[in-house]
Amino acid sequence: MSSSARPDIALQDTGAGPASLEQSSVGIWRRLVSHRSVVVGGSLFSIILAAALFAGWFAPYGPVDTQPDVALQPPNWTHLMGTDQFGRDVLSRVIHGARPSLVMGVAPMLISSVVGTTLGMLFGYYGRWADLLLTRFVDIALAFPPILLALTVVAVLGPGLWSIALALGLSGIPFYIRMARGQVLQAKEAPFVQTAIAIGAGDLRIMFRHIIQRVMPPILVMMTIHVAGAILAGAALSFLGLGIPPPSPEWGTMIQDGRQFIALSWWMAFFPGVALALTVFATNLLGDGLRDVLSPRSKGERIR
């Protein structure tokens, strides 16, 4: 009410929102690069990303080159991680396996975060019956453990890298809807949004200039943690035989292969698992650091 009586104060108030956020975004960046988890996780992740992008340069052998005369060799100087049952170099396959793993982690995160956040924001902002309907739908979708939902979608789409990515992406959507919607409902009541409404800002401007600032920090944290979960879930689905068909290298499938030979040659399953764990560890560290810096009070939920 005072804002309509004294527009100068109201303008100052709305001005303070974005300005302080700009200032703090420099602060956030500074805090991020000095955060231990972010530095360790970030460097580790960069190495894995490099392996994924330039696998051909790093790998000593081709990922599908078979040499039957050196099959099932334990780790040695020519084959640092040993060879598999067809004499393929495990190290080379591990390096080449980084790419599908990152795809299975990043693609689902992009699908779910874009679709889920947009839906959650729109429906949370406009409310009414559509919001009610969407909330019911989210309740129903969340009644399924995510990996089961993904499993069912893979059954619909047929096995393969992209169907796993799509399946994990679809099964993650309800989590983003719920998070974004909750943030919007809170932000709608916040003074700086009320002021923006009072001075007659349009819906789109309010949503994409003001409310989004409240929505993004927890969504960003969720995105990082989601990548970690999706990499694990994707590997698990591949392990079940629903992933990329052989002989293409993929860590989950390699572990399944190694399972058959576990009593004979442990290295076949051991090294892909270590690579998988390191990748997820790096992503988790990044996520933890991001959470510390962006939203210290949120508990964080894992999508798996």
Partner: protein
Amino acid sequence: MLRYVLGRMTLTVPVLVGAAVFIFLLMQLVPGDAVSAVMAGGAKLSPEQQMEMREAFGLNRPVLVQLGDYLWGLIQGDLGRSTRSDRAVLSLVAAQIPSTLILVSAGMVVAIFVGVPLGVLAARRRNTFVDTLAMGTAVLGLSVPQFWFGLMLILLFAVNLGWFPALSSGGFNGLVLPAVTLGIAEAAILARLVRSSLIESLEQDYIATARAKGASDRRVTWRHGLRNALVPVVTMIGLQVGNLLGAAVVIEMLFARQGLGQLVVNSILRRDLPVLQGSILILASLFVVINVIVDILYKVLDPRVKLGAA
């Protein structure tokens, strides 16, 4: 209390009906139907026989009619018949429920008995080396793929030491490795939550009062602090049951253990849609029911929770 329990249970009905409709519609998207799946399995059917089979399964009726029929069947406890063995889906699924529930409960026991003490330890020694080590282990535990961790347990304890069987055929010995595999990642999540929650509750005024009255450090932590810290932990356990049920699918395949997971994966590989549909619906229902139980527990633990706000 009874009213709350009944009210909470009524709320699950629309979710369960919704879940049934959702999974039914999803199954309609699967390319090919039961008949083409049988033919892919090697059976040679003439066009007339195919027609007959579609007639027998009711596959040539409108989708909405099939849906209504399916829901009507559900009410009567009829989940359809397997297109592979012609056995009733309900009996196939019911036979596997106990094995999966035993595995999930055992995994939860492992998670609680490892996760809670680890979290308490980290909270009591916070910002020391012990804390860093415990929480570092927890993040590592979250990052290790379960099926790989289980395989490494098989390598160590079954192949090398011979203490436990590599394949879980049943009995207590066969349960140990799968339960540890299943529980350890959830233990990591619990440990982190117990730590942050306990640190928060140890800063409350009543803790200072308890200390002032001369309660020992141990008593303050376990009796006074932990009780309050457990409220968010119980909520998290409820959410984790979904993870455990999902992860059990993979763990059952790893240890070749009987259960719903085997049923789900095999029905996908054999394109036995009624069995897939039924087992996923049952898994989702288990998840929903367990969450109701958790909500009720939550109420028991924290009397401040309003009865009406479900």
